[in-house]
Amino acid sequence: MPTLLLSAPHIHSGMTVNRLMRQVIIGLFPALLLGLYLFGEQALVLVMASLAAGLLTEWLCQKCQDKPLGSLLDGSAIVTILLLVMSLPPHFPWYLGALGAAIAVILGKQVYGGLGQNLFNPAMLARVVLLISFPVEMTSWPSPVPVLPALPGLNDLADAFTGATTLGAVMETGSSIIELQLLPLLFGISPGSLGESPLLLLLGGIWMSYKKVIDWRISVSLIIGCIVPATLAWWITPETILSPLAQLSSGGLMLAAFFIATDPVTSPTTPKGRIWYGLGCGLLIFLIRIFGAYPEGVAFAILLMNAVSPLIESTSKHRAYGESK
């Protein structure tokens, strides 16, 4: 017999947290696969070790709680861990990757109470912890070596690079006059993080925006927030600052715009707030790139904006129906 105490509505859109997380994972996949293809089994080991360590930590944490928020396989831990690994150097030692994943789960999420409670993006938090604790490992960028020599074009492109990331090179030499090949950069066939293929990330991001998994407002305003000042700066001093297109396609900008800043838990919920949040993230990324001590500032920018996200949310309340304009 039907039970009585069931509140309306009696139908549902069908969108669940699990499904959201699954769609984020799908959006990440192309870039992740390319990363694995380019950086070989060492990268694969890193991904696997991190996933195993992260999920094990999550399971242990939930075992310790009376009423854990979220469940092990609701996808949130997997997304966090994948985002962390994709922002790591591809040949980062697997045990340190596993440590990072555990840090992301414990310090990033569970200490706050679990799913939905954390103030900071767990993946970025763990990345910063790793960056500060293991600076050497975190800044050694191998050149991509495709596992299968099936695509000769790709291999040629890959050969063009050695040593440093684009942003790193600019930071070291202080000059933007470096040999730049945009096409491989766009595809992410360059030294850099494991999942750094701008075009594939853009593809996943657009698909997620279309599926309404993420809010386009954050992504678009983040890119604008970074690229507009970058273009102005480049226009003034083109010899020290990378061109806007190179800015756009290097580092973690795309990952941040579509996958990290759009994390629902740590971003504001109001539409206006999301635009301010995105602009803030973008601007901070630009500022850290140009003036910071690190070549790339995505993780710091996101964490800083996470901290002010509640403030943005409370000040960006939109007008309710029937309130005076």
């Binding site: 039907p2 309306a8 009696h10 139908i11 549902h12 979220g70 939905g116 109001t270 309710a320 029937g322």
Partner: protein, 496 residues
């Protein structure tokens, strides 16, 4: 869709499921043996019965009068009043209500059942007030869900300037098709009712808004009002909750009803299509509101359809007349799936505001288990009132009802858009229903406490005065005694 300006803020797009019940004509039921006519079928105070057990009543006879702005109730069929007693009602929480139990005569008077044998009346009113009185006498209430007495609403327009009459044919709730069918089958009556309403509320023009998932209904109405220059039919995009009065006004007139004001304050008067048809019958044929069209739908139902039934018919009888269930109904919902409430007892009668009864199969139902809020903001985007449902729910969950009220809880329509879209399946609507009820009660208790304090202070002051008086009298007596004289006899008597 991406670049078209949305007519209303927020909202959601649930699957319509209208096709289940909108492709067959309205079924007219033979009268049941017994009717259970609730005394409270409208907003406001319950009606006061004017018949008693054992009375013979005719179809259309007044059974109970509205008091304090509530609506009259009439007998749908001729018969005998068995008793006036409590009976299970199809209300949230499944409580009982006082109802008139009417044993129907075997031979119903066709006069009040259906066209064509109405008593035709012409020009039976001279003024706007008289027209409103006719509508009041017929016990007509808004059939869109608010069940607010139509005449009370109309009277409020007498000293206000109403420019536009908006007729709500949106029926934005999924599954429900009763208004759709009324618009298709009774379009002439609907338009006739609109003409009366235009007079009654003093508006210059009328706009009928119909969602674009009801093209047949819209076309019927366009045909029916082709000769009226001041009635216009407009199709609106299918978008929940387009049919909510505030959103409907926003979509058609591009104005928002200011907070705390009524629609008549912005010069519009909103009424539902089925109510228009009822007004037409009432004014033209002196037929009170005794029947209504009810949608029976849901995947668990053998033959979903619309039934015109006398008010007071048991839901179990309606179910039997459309073939019963073909599968287990996991949830029986009275009203639409977005705002309706569940019932467990089918031996409950329909009322003036019962738009639909849904027998939902398990497959249609949402996942019950809720997960923690991930602050995805979908509820914020979906709220048609521009509120922050996530923030309000969190405040309510932490018993900060004042905080929730500050966030605008009182503006919440209970439309369910936020809970519909919530990926965490949080019972947001229930938080708000709970908080609204709780705040109301706390306010009442607060007023009571203040009253008690005031009365106590007054009483203390009075007692002190009395004591002082007594003391003064005693002192006077003592002084008199000290002076060596006996006090008069009568004062000692008073002391006792």
């Amino acid at each position: 869709m991406l670049f078209s300006k949305k007519l209303i803020k927020g909202g959601v797009h649930p699957v319509g499921q209208k096709q289940l019940s909108n492709n067959s004509d309205i079924l007219r039921l033979p009268p049941p043996k017994r009717l259970f006519i609730a005394l409270k079928q409208h907003s406001g105070a319950p009606a006061k019965p004017v018949v008693k057990a054992g009375d013979k009543v005719n179809a259309g006879q007044l059974l109970a009068t509205g008091q304090g702005g509530s609506a009259n109730i009439h007998a749908p069929q001729s018969g005998t009043v068995e008793k006036i007693a409590e009976h299970s009602a199809a209300i949230p929480g499944g409580g009982k209500q006082s109802m008139i139990h009417l044993l129907c005569d075997a031979q119903p008077e066709s006069k009040y059942m259906l066209p064509p044998d109405y008593v035709k009346l012409d020009n039976n009113y001279q003024s706007r007030e008289q027209l409103i009185d006719i509508i009041a006498d017929a016990g007509i209430v808004g059939m869109g869900g608010a069940v607010f007495p139509a005449a009370t609403k109309l009277r409020s327009t007498l000293n206000k300037d109403v420019d536009t009459l908006l007729i709500n044919g949106c029926e934005c709730e999924p599954y429900l098709t009763c208004d759709d069918l009324v618009m298709q089958e009774q379009c002439v009556q609907v338009v006739g009712g609109i003409r009366y309403l235009l007079e009654a509320c003093g508006a210059k023009k009328a706009i009928i808004g119909v969602e674009d998932n009801k093209p047949l209904a819209a076309q019927s109405l366009i045909d029916a009002c082709s000769e009226d220059d001041n009635i216009e039919v407009r199709t609106l995009p299918t978008h929940y909750p387009m049919g909510s009065a505030k959103q409907f006004i926003q979509a058609l007139c591009k104005v928002e009803v200011p907070k705390g004001k009524r629609s008549t304050d912005v010069g519009v008067f909103v009424q539902n299509v089925a109510t228009c048809a009822a007004i037409y019958y009432a004014v033209r044929f002196a037929r009170p509101m005794t029947h209504r069209v009810v949608t029976l739908s849901g995947a668990a139902l053998e033959k979903p359809m619309n039934i015109e039934a006398p008010i007071g018919t048991l839901i179990s009888e309606l179910l039997a007349s459309c073939g019963g269930l073909k599968a287990d109904a996991a949830r029986i919902v009275v009203g639409g799936p977005m705002m309706g409430h569940t019932i467990t007892n089918m031996n409950t009668p329909i009322m003036k505001g019962t738009s639909g009864i849904l027998f939902l199969h398990e497959d249609e139902l949402p996942e019950q288990k809720s997960s923690p809020c991930v602050s995805c903001g979908r509820c914020v985007a979906a709220c048609p009132m521009g509120l922050l449902p996530n923030a309000m729910a969190e405040l309510v969950a932490n018993d900060d009802l004042e905080g929730a009220a500050e966030q605008g809880l009182s503006a919440c329509l209970m439309c369910g858009s936020c809970a519909f879209i919530c990926p965490a399946s949080l019972p947001l609507t229930q938080y708000f229903s709970y908080a609204t009820g709780e705040i109301k009660r706390q306010k009442q208790m607060e007023q009571k406490a203040q009253l008690a304090r005031r009365l106590n202070q007054q009483r203390t002051a009075r007692l002190e005065k009395e004591a002082a008086k007594k003391a003064a009298a005693k002192a006077a007596k003592k002084a008199a005694r000290a002076a060596g004289k006996r006090a008069p006899r009568k004062t000692t008597k008073q002391e006792v």
